[in-house]
């Protein structure tokens, strides 16, 4: 298996999952995460995990080109191993010379690993299929206070800018003879403080410019602003929400009774 060093981020694709309304996708993430906790049997968790995998394949999630999947795979393996090695309850199902696997250890290994994988993987798929900008515009349109929504959107706007600033400051330091060597420690700390101070000044400047830009365009003038983006709920979105809630109710009923 070869994993490329690709970060999980939103990618435009024409799939059914991408086309769903961001709010519907957020609701499904909540439903799947709740389901992972509500379900008690290890087989049910495996079925839920397979369901999430299918969603991933439908959305054309790059399973083998994402480093985070490798990290998820290793973490799941680690959680399973802990249970298999240390949980020694119930009858023995495998008895090798080096290791003995008990029924409870096996079931817990599958149950915990699948639950963890469901919650993380559904979040990855959500990030991959959802434009965060669109999500927050949708949330603001249905009632999220717009100041909060724009706090998130402007932060997202600043992230790549700050990444660039960090590079530039570091290059400028090196070109002016600053050395990032651990010893002597006071010089090393001095270089870091210089770096952080400049970064802080840079951040304040960026924020100042943004404040002028926002105030100059009457941000905060009205308690309720308009939104030119249309939040469209198709019949598939309504069906998806309906199916999701029915699914959650069924597994909850099963749990209660």
């Amino acid at each position: 298996m070869r994993f490329e060093n690709q970060r999980i981020r939103h990618q435009y694709k024409k799939t059914m999952i991408h086309n769903l309304n961001p709010i519907v996708k957020a609701i499904w993430v909540i439903i799947m995460s709740l389901s992972a906790f509500v379900l008690q049997g290890y087989l049910e968790e495996v079925i839920l995990f397979l369901f999430v995998l299918i969603i991933g394949f439908i959305s054309r999630f790059p399973f083998f080109r994402t480093r985070s999947i490798r990290i998820l795979f290793l973490t799941v393996l680690f959680l399973a191993m802990i249970q298999l090695v240390f949980n020694k309850h119930g009858e023995i199902i495998v008895d090798l010379n080096l290791i003995t696997i008990y029924k409870s250890g096996f079931e817990n290994a599958v149950y915990i690993s699948a639950r963890f994988a469901v919650i993380v993987l559904i979040s990855f798929i959500f990030i991959f299929t959802t434009d965060t900008n669109e999500l927050f515009y949708s949330l603001m349109k249905i009632g999220l206070p717009y100041r909060f929504g724009f706090a998130v959107i402007t932060s997202m706007r600043l992230v790549p800018i700050f990444g660039n600033e960090v590079d530039q400051i570091y290059y400028a330091q090196i070109s002016k003879g600053v050395k990032y060597r651990i010893f002597p420690i006071n010089r090393f700390l001095g270089a870091i403080i210089q770096f952080l101070r400049l970064l802080m000044i840079s951040i304040i400047r960026q924020v100042d410019a943004m404040v002028i830009s926002m105030e100059g365009r009457s941000f905060g003038l009205l308690a309720r602003r308009t939104f030119s983006r249309e939040v469209v709920f198709s019949y598939i979105d309504y069906i998806s929400i309906f199916v999701g809630f029915i699914f959650l109710i069924i597994i909850s009923i099963d749990k209660v009774f």
């Binding site: 900008n133 943004m210 002028i212 105030e215 365009r217 308009t226 030119s228 249309e230």
Partner: protein, 492 residues
């Protein structure tokens, strides 16, 4: 329409007033060009006209600014914004959202305008700046010129009575600058908006017959029409009387099959390039052509492949491994990233002290005071309090202070008046001659730089389009149909 009376402002912690008793009237539909040396108070004046100075900045403020006889000092900023809008110097910093459509809609949505009307305004605003095709683009994918167009479109969409543009072309290449001027022409022709343009490149604006205001040390020293001002411009065109050296015997850089990469993508490919000791080279090209990548690749900051031989005193240099960075003098585009000390004086000697900690000579003998004379009165000032142009000059002075053999200067003339560009070029020329140093200057000011340069390299879409002696530049620009560069080179 706008009336400024006895306006003065002193920033907190500064001794001198940045604005000093300014009186001015501006009428609807007027085109005004505000010019002056860097640090003279142009941006502060723009902040005063838009109300930000009295509302957001700490300092001593006196006098009044009125729009339609209403004083702005007591009006909320959101109401002032109905009449006047400021497009800041760097469009990248003022975008709030992630897409062009959202960005132009932002101000209209804040005013509670109906959705259908917003869509019409977005369309009209983009038409006004010749950018209809950008409507569905993500802001981070736009070029510098496109970003500036969108910044202007956000202003146009709001339909203010006055738009102030703070050095709108300072970060742009010659082609994009020309595009932005065509946008101005369209706005001026409509005569519905007053435009106040803060600009150093006055020659391009002359055809619009603006009223020209000149600030000096915070004072409004002249209000002239374009005919009177042309005399001032002609003084900046005096030839430097340079004799071009043609033969260079020692190579400092040799590149063969050299590729530079950003984020895994090849951004520049050079088949063969040699740079000689003692050359002053002008590097030209549009934004995104690979000029900055070239410098960062040379320094070893960006990943590169191919043969790169750099011979400085018989030593091979690669700054990424922190070997001999003292041989290089690198000045980045944005001076704000380059200041690490709390006073101008300390900043001037900061790299010198890093590279030569046991040097006991008076540091003032190192930097060229003649070219950076205005910095001598600011020695105790914090570098971040300087104007943009002063910061640029400080970053150059601090590099010259340690006498590097190879100067790599990335768009150092942003925010500089013509007279300052000439002063800086003259200083660099002297420095080059005295030290037999090699100087590479990325610039969009060939008209002045080429009076001093020995050679020009033109980058185009990640390749070297031509690399010629300075006397052959016009011929090559003509051959490659780079008419906007040709016009810029021969502009009055």
């Amino acid at each position: 329409m706008i009336s400024v009376r006895n306006l003065s402002f002193r920033y907190e912690g500064r001794e001198l007033k940045t604005l000093d008793n300014i009186n001015l009237d501006i009428n609807l539909g007027e085109l005004i060009v505000l010019t002056g040396e860097s640090g003279c108070g142009k941006t502060t004046f723009a902040l005063a006209l838009t109300g930000f100075l009295s509302h957001l900045f700490a300092g001593e403020y006196s006098g009044t600014v009125s729009i339609n006889d209403e004083s702005i000092e007591k009006k909320p900023l959101t109401e002032i914004a109905e009449d006047i809008y400021l497009v800041q110097q760097n469009p990248q910093n003022q975008f709030v959202t992630l897409t062009v459509r959202d960005e132009i809609a932002f101000g209209l949505e804040n005013k509670g305008i109906a959705t259908r009307e917003i869509h019409i305004c977005i369309k009209k605003a983009l038409q006004a700046v010749y950018a209809e095709d950008l409507i569905d683009r993500n802001i981070d994918t736009l070029s510098g010129g496109e970003k500036q167009k969108i910044a202007i479109a956000t202003a146009v969409a709001l339909q203010p009575k006055i738009i102030i543009l703070d050095e709108p072309t300072s970060n742009l290449d010659i082609k994009s600058t020309k595009n932005i001027y065509s946008v101005f022409k369209r706005l001026i022709d409509q005569k519905e908006i007053s435009l106040i343009i803060i600009e150093h490149k006055l020659n391009e604006l002359m055809s619009f017959s603006p009223r020209i205001l000149k600030l000096s040390h915070g004072k409004l020293i002249s209000q002239q029409n374009n005919q009177n001002f042309s005399n001032i411009l002609s003084k900046t065109r005096e030839r430097a009387g340079k004799e071009f050296k043609r033969d260079f015997d020692q190579k400092v850089i040799q590149l063969k099959d050299f590729s530079i990469y950003r984020n895994g993508n090849e951004v520049l490919k050079i088949n063969l390039l040699e740079i000689n000791k003692g050359e002053l080279i002008s590097i030209l090209g549009n934004n995104g052509a690979g000029k900055s990548s070239f410098i960062l690749g040379l320094m070893g900051i960006l990943y590169s492949t191919g043969q790169k031989r750099m011979i400085l005193n018989d030593k091979i240099i690669d700054i990424k491994r922190q070997r001999h960075p003292e041989k290089f003098g690198l000045v980045f585009q944005n001076p704000d990233h380059q200041f690490f000390c709390e006073t101008v004086e300390n900043e001037l000697i900061f790299p010198l002290r890093n590279f030569f900690p046991f040097d006991t000579k008076d540091p003032k003998t190192y930097y060229c005071v003649s070219a950076f004379a205005d910095l001598s009165s600011e020695l105790k000032t914090h570098p971040i309090k300087l104007s943009y142009g002063q910061k640029k000059r400080l970053s150059i002075a601090s590099v010259l202070a340690y006498h590097p053999e190879l100067l790599l200067l990335d768009e150092i003339f942003i925010g500089q008046s013509n007279s300052n560009v000439i002063r800086i070029m003259s200083t660099l020329d002297d420095y080059k001659k005295k030290n037999n140093a090699t100087v590479l200057i990325i610039n969009h000011q060939p008209r002045i730089v080429h009076q001093y340069a020995d050679r020009a390299i033109f980058f185009d879409e990640g390749r070297v389009l031509f690399d010629v002696n300075i006397n052959k530049v016009e011929e090559n620009l003509l051959n490659f149909k780079k008419n906007e560069y040709l016009e810029s080179l021969n502009a009055i």
